[in-house]
């Protein structure tokens, strides 16, 4: 089936109208997932609704309380934004890893979230930063924590008539640092075989007072791992605490065998990544 319409609405209301009028329409931001799926025949939308002419979806708004990132803002712009770089280097770690420079010129966190791949590079860091998805629909606006946005591979909580508008992050507490790493076979270009993000708050006494750990590509969705966080809270990130966090991450993983990795491999490596990422997050926390 061919996609027979291309629309480029200029406002959220217009976009919602086009979506309502075209059952089977799909939103086009960077197209780096959608167009690949279209060419392969995996998806056949009735219409492409290009949202890149809508200001709210293309801007980054920062103030004292936090940052709101438009759903269609390209990764290259997110990674260059001074406030995002200062407050969430872990998010930048993740976003910067999506694809190549060419992909970075187009891909968005909106697309990353809505594609709902368990291996999405921006999602783990969004989760540990407590990010919230802002959604517009026929009955108004609603918010959903990013942690619960994806339901299963390819499926999200978005209703067919809804549009993801932006992602909001509240300014992190003082002495908080985050980090993200993924395991890929080459140095670039691959889909994550396993990944982990950690956000830590470290007190002046060097003790971790708060932590969040999220793992990716090892379950149907990215997972928040409370047990891993608990292993770090109250510790000085000593070897024993790191080992317990690592083990908790491996235990929480529920991976599959596929062309990119085996179950055993993913489970083992996600623990290694959790440990390494926690160390980087702690170093960043101490710098703030």
């Amino acid at each position: 089936m061919h996609t027979t319409r291309y629309e480029a609405p200029g406002t959220i209301a217009d976009a919602l109208g086009v979506i309502a009028a075209n059952p089977g329409a799909m939103v086009l931001a960077g197209g780096t997932d959608l167009l690949v799926q279209y060419q392969s025949g995996m998806r056949s939308p009735s219409a492409f609704v290009d949202v890149k002419r809508i200001p709210e979806l293309m801007q980054i708004a920062a103030d004292e309380g936090g940052v709101t990132i438009g759903a269609a803002v390209p990764a290259a712009e997110i990674c260059a934004h001074p406030v995002i770089r200062a407050w969430w280097p872990g998010l930048v770690d993740g976003v910067r890893l999506i694809g190549s420079t060419q992909i970075q010129g187009r891909c968005s966190i909106g697309g990353n979230l809505c594609n709902a791949s368990p291996a999405a590079d921006s999602v783990c860091a969004l989760i540990v930063s407590g990010a919230v998805a802002v959604i517009a629909g026929p009955s108004g606006q609603r918010e959903v924590p990013v942690r619960t946005f994806a339901v299963s591979p390819g499926k999200t909580v978005l209703a067919p008539a809804e549009l993801l508008v932006s992602v909001r992050l509240a300014r992190p507490a003082p002495h908080t640092g985050d980090a993200y790493q993924r395991l890929i076979p080459r140095s670039e270009m691959d889909i994550a075989v396993a990944s982990a993000a950690v956000s830590l708050t470290i007190g002046a006494d060097g003790v971790c007072s708060a932590a969040r750990v999220a793992i990716g590509a090892v379950a149907p969705t990215a997972l928040l791992v409370p047990d891993a966080a608990a292993a770090l809270v109250g510790s000085r990130l000593d070897a024993d605490a790191l080992e317990r966090a690592s083990a908790a991450a491996s235990a929480a993983a529920n991976p599959i065998d596929d062309k990119r990795g085996t179950t055993a491999y993913r489970r083992q490596v996600v623990g290694v990544l959790t440990r390494r990422v926690a160390v980087i997050a702690a170093d960043r926390a101490k710098e703030r």
Partner: protein
Amino acid sequence: MSSAPQYTAIGTRPVRHDGVDKVTGRANYGADLSLPGMLFAVVVRSPHAHARIVSIDTSAALKVPGVKGVITGRDVPLVDMKLGLGEGAMDLKDMSDNLLARDKALYDGHVVAAVAATTMAAAREAADLVRVQYDVLEPVLSVDRAMEPGAPILHDTMTTQAHPPVESSGPTNVAGRMELKRGDVDKGFAEADVVVEHVFRTPTSHQGYIEPHACVARVNEDGRVNIWTTTQGPFLVRDATAKILGMDAANIKVTPSEIGGGFGGKIPVYLEPLAVVLARMTQRPVKMVMTRDEVFRGSGPTSATKIRMKMGAKKDGTIVAASASLYYEAGAYRGSPSGAGAMCAFAPYTIPNFFIEAYDIVVNKPKVAAYRAPGSPMAALATESLIDEIAGTLGLDKIDIRLKNAVKEGDKAPFGPPYGRIGFHDVLAKVRESEHWKSAKAPGVGRGLACGFWFNAGMSSSATVTVGSDGSAAVITGNPDIGGTRAAQALMVAEELGIPVERVRPIVADTDTAGFTEITAGSRVCYATGMAIVEASRNIREQLRARAAKVWGVPVEETRWEHGRVVPVNPSSERQPLTVPEIAAKFVKTGGPVIGHASVNPPMAGPAFAAHICDLAVDKETGCSRVVRYTAIQDVGKAIHPSYVEGQMQGGASQGIGWALNEEYIYDASGVMQNAGFLDYRMPVASDLPMIDTILVEVPSPGHPYGVRGVGEVPIVPPLAAVANAMADATGVRFTELPLSPPRVLAQLNGRA
């Protein structure tokens, strides 16, 4: 002993003549041609790895608006003959069946029908509507399975072509077997102080050229056929198309486009005959371009292999015995490079007792095509890993053990003839002298050394050289320029005629214009086509002497050629020398245009030996690894244009590194390829590799005017083992199965812990 010849052009690094077109996007590749009224054709491919084709219903496809023609196997008769393909002969019947399946689909991706329409969208829509009824059969997906009694048989008329002959009983998947032997291996092993044996496995991997196959065909009202195509062999396309379609080759003109990579994979013919049939049927030009998915599933990767090899040595490192069984997947039709693998496996070393048997085995995967030194890299993985292990066990230096056994001039090659002048010892000496070998390893880094051998082809070539009245020259051949051969050809003419290389125009011509030339492959263009060019140029020198003699009114014996000009033999003569431009200015008066041509069919070029050093950083917690330093050392005979020789070494090394670390065809249990794209068929990217240092050794090959040896293929032979040996050094674990992807490496490291 005379000193090395001094050249004025050979060995310099001019900008290549086709360079400006290529850096501005103006150069035209296979998919870049469009003709008025052109149709677009797509093929329908079997989704099953092994199936009988029961029926094909094209009626719904024909009804799609814009569709002008649909063909199936019924429309192309099968022929039964052979065609010489340069690095291996191929049965035309097999090639024809591979182009378009008749009774059976033999691999996931096998073409079963083709559709031509006025737009790509219509062609694709129609292709989806072609209804094929399959009787799905159990696929054979490994050499082990193929050889099991009771395994499904791909071809029910296949018997084993074996040398020496074997008693055949019934149809088999073993298409061929050969053996090579010397001495008494059992006695040799009994005398050895240390014996090692492993089974090695390498995956199906693809040449990975960035340009997919593409062509445009037009059939004129008088039956003359024009084909524009990206190919390594325009004459091969012409002859194969002619024979497969039962046409006269004289009626087919093939114009080679620029070619976006080949490495052997653009020798076979996949699209052109189909495009011609559709063009003839519709009386419109037809364009066919493969998608990347189709390139992986429907062209010719190289063989997956299983190699059992055993080697025995004395305490001092002398190899006294070696045996090997090579099992190579041919894909759906006979013709893997197992024989070449057998000939290369022990070629670098003098081994008094050896036995090698090589099996060519069909499986339900795409028919393999040549891939840069076909057959040799896999065999070298085995040989060089065993030597590495023996050296480690005996506490011997990795270079010394090889020097102890390395072949030199006069030694008999495993495949028969004695080696002429070769440079293996020189290459090994350069390893020891290299900065890389002398440098300390960084922590966490393993270092591997491995060597390799390739024959390098001869084969037929022609060349025409013309001199213009301004003293410039053109050199015309039928060899597509994959890696900078135009520049090398121009340098040869410049050297022979003593004119500046900028005033030489190298031209790759079509099959109507160029003299017959075999393919651009086999590392043979600088060698064989080069010989033709040199011969043609020297013929021109003789003609120039005759013209000068006419100008002076003397017999030609009183003239002499002296680099770019003709001089009188008699030094006291008052006549001034005449330069090429000066003689050329008088062409019309002295007899007309000056053209030289030559055709050659030389024996194999001098063999090439290489040694590579690889430093590999291994993360033992994740199994990930990265090449952090790499040096390629090779005997190149004579580097005509050193930059492009270096380029061949660097490119071959990177392909080998990718093959060793991450590249493999991944199949599911039903034989469907799971990673037919560049995302999951993981070739090295720029951030995966360091600078690749090259050391060129020049031991001139006798038999070529400049001592040229083929250089393009041997660079892919050492890297598989160089990387594997580096991994062994880094981890203490011997890996015998490629690729060394992180999950496989970590599993092995865990197992050992």
